[in-house]
C-alpha cells in the first residue's frame, strides 16, 4: 500500500497523474495547495486531507462529509501504515 501526497490544485496535472497511478488499496493525502482538489476527490474512499492545510485555505466548512481529515500526527501515522510514499507536484 502506497501513500500518495498531492500538493497542487486541480489546475495542475498532479491530481490526474496521481489517480492514474494509484492502486485500489493505495491511499491519497491532499496537502498544501492540493487541498483545493477536495471536491474532485470527494467520494473516493482512498482520499484524505490534511487539517492544518485545509484550515489555512479557509475551506474547513466545505469539506465533503465522507472525506477523512487528518492532522500532522495522522499524516505521520499514514506514512507508517503505507509501505512507501509517492509525491505528486
Amino acid at each position: 500500500m502506497i501513500l500518495h501526497t498531492i500538493n497542487k490544485p486541480p489546475s495542475h496535472t498532479a491530481l490526474s497523474d496521481c489517480l492514474a497511478a494509484m492502486a485500489s488499496d493505495d491511499v491519497m493525502l491532499l496537502i498544501e495547495d492540493g487541498i483545493y482538489c477536495l471536491h474532485e476527490v470527494a467520494g473516493d474512499h482512498r482520499a484524505h486531507v490534511l487539517r492544518e492545510d485545509l484550515a489555512a485555505r479557509g475551506l474547513s466548512g466545505q469539506l465533503p462529509s465522507e472525506l477523512k481529515c487528518l492532522d500532522y500526527a495522522g499524516f505521520v501515522a499514514l506514512c507508517t501504515q503505507a509501505e512507501k510514499v509517492k509525491t505528486w507536484a
Binding site: 500538493n7 497542487k8 490544485p9 489546475s11 498544501e32 495547495d33 483545493y36 471536491h39 487539517r51 492544518e52 492545510d53 484550515a55 489555512a56 485555505r57 479557509g58 475551506l59 474547513s60 466548512g61 466545505q62 492532522d71 500532522y72
Partner: protein, 127 residues
Amino acid sequence: MQIDWSLSVSNRTLLFVQSHAPHGSLFGQEGLDAIMMGSAFARCTVLMQGDGIYQLIIDQDPTGTNTRDYSVTYSALRDYGVESVLCVQEDLTERRLSEDDLIIPVSVVNRSEVPHILATHDVILDF
C-alpha cells in the same frame, strides 16, 4: 515613507494580475506587497486570475501551517485607493466559489472581457 501625492501620482494605469493560490507559495503575498506600493504612485486595478482567486477566500486560518494570513490585507486595498478588484466568473464557477465566499467585494467579469481589461491599462504586472 513620505509621499507627496500631488507630485508623484502617475497618469499611467497599472494592472496587477494575481494568478497563484495562497500559502503554497509566496507569490500572492509578495504580489500584494507590490499592489500596495503601486497604489501610492498610480491608479491600480487588480485581477485575480485562475488560481489567484483562492487568495480571497474568507476565514483562512494558517495557525497550523505557520504561514501568514495576508488575505485580510486585501480589505485595506480600498483605503489605499484601489477601487477595482476583478475576478472572472468562469474562474469562480470552476472552483465552486461564489462572491459570498470572498473576503472583499469584487467586480465579477466574464472571461471574454479579459482582453479588454488587459488592453485598457498601460502596464501589466504579473504575479
